[in-house]
């Protein structure tokens, strides 16, 4: 069935809430307003206000409520209106949720999902245009998934809700309206398993989240020039699917790592670390990263466009690693 990324997430929530009455949704505007991005549309009516809970604008507070609920046996899904607001809640995410199992000596696991849009949309300016995956993936105790397609959004959110550990679901604000095929019936995508979204022999693009769409565009553009790209969608950035990365680079001998966020200590750095170590003798060129400009996101439309990683930069990077004149 063709559906939007937004509806795919809604399906996942509905199916899991139907399946397990310990699952509940909590966050700003998730109930009466039906969700800031309408992901929770209809859920209040179906499940009632005990399971679809509006909160005050207190990210740290309701994140903490969620962790406590998870510790006593519920399976909360905490929606952040955007991950930019979740900075305030990171103490609960990093110091409580991620460490509880360890620090309680295994007595308390925290089966919680923190989800919401991540990364830059359009002209939301410096404070609201940030990609947080490297911050979150840095933390032992967290799993971090970054679905790019409706099918992966549904399958990964369902797997996240069923996971007994805290899972971060980073959605793409610009992805909510994108459409794609979702398999009928129960659809789960395992956490930590990448998907080869396009098969090619000339260069690997390793990416995740919204940038997968850019990679596929690049693949289409370059295919017309006789260059075929092997597009690896990590889908989860923690744990990371090392065998999938290695297999792709061994096929192509070249890699471009494409990510939405900043370069320093980014996810791409982690990928490059894997590639240089596992694929050293397979590399015919240095690995090149494509990422956001190392600056706060500008508000001005032209500057914002220049700061974001895009199709042109991706194609240029592929040509560089292939030693082809741009």
């Amino acid at each position: 069935m063709i559906t939007t990324y937004r509806d795919a997430l809604a399906q996942a929530l509905r199916e899991e809430m139907q399946r397990d009455d310990r699952v509940f949704l909590m966050g700003e505007e998730v109930a009466a307003y039906q969700g800031a991005y309408k992901v929770s549309k209809g859920l209040l009516q179906e499940f009632g206000e005990m399971r679809v809970v509006d909160t005050p604008i207190t990210e740290l507070g309701f994140a903490g409520v969620g962790v406590g609920a998870a510790m006593v046996g519920l399976r909360p899904v905490i929606e952040f209106m955007t991950w930019n607001f979740a900075l305030l809640a990171l103490d609960q995410v990093v110091n409580a949720a991620a460490k509880m199992l360890y620090m309680s000596g295994g007595q308390f696991n925290v089966p919680i999902v923190f989800r919401g849009p991540n990364g830059a949309a359009l002209q939301l300016a410096a404070q609201h245009s940030q990609a947080w995956e490297s911050w979150l993936a840095h933390i032992p105790g967290l799993k971090v998934v970054t679905p790019a397609t409706p099918a992966d959004a549904k399958g990964l959110l369902k797997s996240a809700i069923r996971d007994d550990n805290p899972v971060i679901v980073l959605e793409g604000e610009m992805l909510y309206n994108t459409k794609g095929e979702i398999p009928d019936g129960e659809h789960l995508v395992p956490i930590g398993v990448a998907e080869r979204k396009r098969e090619g022999t000339d260069c690997s693009i390793i990416t995740y989240g919204k940038m997968v769409l850019v990679a596929l565009q690049a693949a289409d553009t370059l295919a017309a020039q006789g260059i075929t790209l092997d597009v690896v969608d990590l889908r989860s950035v923690r744990p990371m699917d090392v065998p999938a990365i290695v297999a792709s680079v061994r096929r192509t001998n070249r890699a471009v790592v494409l990510e939405e966020g900043w370069a320093v200590a980014g996810i791409g750095a982690q990928v490059v670390d894997i590639v240089q170590r596992e694929c050293f003798d397979d590399l015919d060129a240095p690995v090149i990263r494509v990422h956001q400009a190392d600056a706060p996101m500008p508000y001005a439309r032209n500057l914002e466009r220049a700061a974001k990683p895009d199709l042109a930069q991706t194609i240029a990077a592929v040509k560089r690693v292939m030693y082809v004149e741009a």
């Binding site: 001998n253 050293f280 003798d281 030693y323």
Partner: protein
């Protein structure tokens, strides 16, 4: 103050030098102008002089190793001066391996089995495997993948031209080089001789050649230039700077095999007399001029291993044994059956074998082992009345001898014109291996043997 000792440009065209010998050692006091080392440039062995007073604190290049011009090879400083920052990551000389990588162990390779399609044996990659250091000691920029591929395919990285940034050798360069090597093999197998002619036991083309299958015991080793790696029946000599430069420059000049030709006019009157005398004894002793030539060439080669060799791209393989390829014309083509260990066979045996091989070549019943493995080739168009000609070298061999017709010609002898039996020999030489004088020495020996055929049994 510490002074860097670097590889200096000791000839105008020198790009790198090989350190032949250190004359000062770690801890030796030196004054400016002292000769501290001998460096082999592309032209000669030169002296490297100290440019400062002090103590040669550290040798940073092993004897026998090469370094590009400008590379730090030593440090002169006061006895107690801290030179750690100058040395940096450069390993001490003792730890610097000679530029040939130890991994491929070419010398230990057993003689390859005869092959039909491959005239050029891919050299075991002495430079590829673990580090990207060329045979000349210079760092070769290459991708890890290119190094691995080169190693797998037995290509020397320094024989590959890099097309990546700053000359980096990448996958496509290795693949291109691999294809070129195959092309050379194909060409070598297809068109080795200038003059294809329909007849027998005559013209012909050296056919694919590879190191021989191993019959009897190896002959005693003979002197050829260069320190070398011994194998079973051959010795691999690393290329000297001069040899490398000669090979590169001459190849640029005249294509893949820089060939030159040497012609010598021999008096074969005594050969004719000897043949007549033998035939008069019994038909069993009947031998052809060609048989005598094979014997003479084999004997001369045994005395001149410097032309009994293969050019392998990054080194020269000098053979201890003499296997002569004998070009034979067959319908629509040429083939070069091999007389193995020809220098150790008698004239009658060579006559028998060459007749047998030529006959079976025309009947197309030779096995591949019988036409591969030659170390030098001979082509004879004399029976067609060809006075002199040039034959084309069958790579990786480095020489071929073209034998012209025996003719009665007037020559001046002791101040008088007399009629003598004469024959012209033309040797094609691969200048990467054989220099003019080298070829000339070989031909001089050959002529002496032909003009005094008793030496063939001496």
């Amino acid at each position: 103050m510490a002074t860097r000792v670097v590889m200096e440009a000791l000839s105008p065209t020198m790009e790198e030098g090989r350190l032949v010998r250190w004359l000062k050692h770690d801890g030796d006091p030196v004054v400016t102008g002292d000769v501290i080392a001998e460096i082999e440039t592309d032209k000669a062995v030169m002296e490297l002089a100290a440019r400062a007073d002090g103590v040669l604190r550290r040798q940073l290049l092993a004897e026998g190793a090469s370094a590009p011009v400008g590379q730090l090879i030593g440090v002169i400083a006061a006895t107690d001066e801290d030179i750690a920052s100058l040395i940096g990551a450069v390993a001490p000389a003792a730890a610097t391996p000679p530029p040939r990588a130890p991994s491929a162990t070419p010398g230990a390779t057993p003689p390859p089995t005869p092959r039909v399609a491959a005239a050029v044996e891919p050299p075991p990659a002495p430079t590829a495997a673990p580090v990207a250091v060329a045979g000349n000691g210079e760092r070769v920029r290459s991708s890890p993948l290119a190094r691995r591929l080169a190693s797998e395919r037995g290509l020397a990285l320094d024989a590959v031209a890099g097309s990546g940034p700053a000359g980096r050798i990448i996958k496509r360069d290795v693949e291109k080089r691999d294809v070129e090597t195959r092309d050379v093999e194909t060409r070598a197998a297809a068109a080795p001789l200038a003059t294809p002619a329909p007849a027998s036991p005559a013209p012909a083309a050296p056919s694919p050649a590879a190191p021989a299958p191993a019959p009897p015991a190896p002959a005693p080793a003979r002197t050829v230039p260069g320190a070398s790696t011994a194998g079973d029946g051959y010795r691999d000599a690393p290329l000297t700077q001069m040899r490398r430069t000669i090979a590169r420059r001459l190849s640029e000049s005249i294509g893949p095999i820089p060939t030159f030709y040497l012609t010598v006019d021999c008096d074969v009157t005594r050969v004719s007399e000897m043949r007549q005398a033998m035939a008069a004894l019994d038909d069993a002793y009947r031998v052809s001029v060609n048989d005598v030539m094979l014997k003479a060439v084999a004997t001369a080669l045994a005395q001149h291993p410097e032309v009994n060799a293969h050019w392998l791209g990054d080194r020269i393989r000098y053979f201890e044994r003499v296997h002569i390829g004998m070009a034979v014309a067959v319908d629509d083509g040429l083939i070069t059956p091999v007389l193995f260990d020809a220098d150790r066979k008698g004239l009658r045996q060579l006559a028998r074998e060459s007749r047998d091989l030529a006959g079976r070549a025309r009947a197309r019943t030779l096995t591949s082992a019988e036409y591969t493995g030659s170390t030098f080739s001979v082509s004879n168009l004399g029976m067609f009345g060809i006075e002199a000609f040039t034959a084309i070298i069958n790579p990786p061999e480095v020489g071929i001898l073209a034998i012209g017709a025996v003719e009665a010609r007037p020559v001046v002898q002791d101040g008088a014109v007399v009629v003598r039996q004469r024959m012209r020999l033309t040797m094609s030489c691969d200048h990467r291996v054989v220099d003019g004088a080298t070829g000339a020495h070989f031909l001089r020996t050959l002529r002496q043997l032909i003009e005094n055929p008793l030496l063939l049994v001496a």
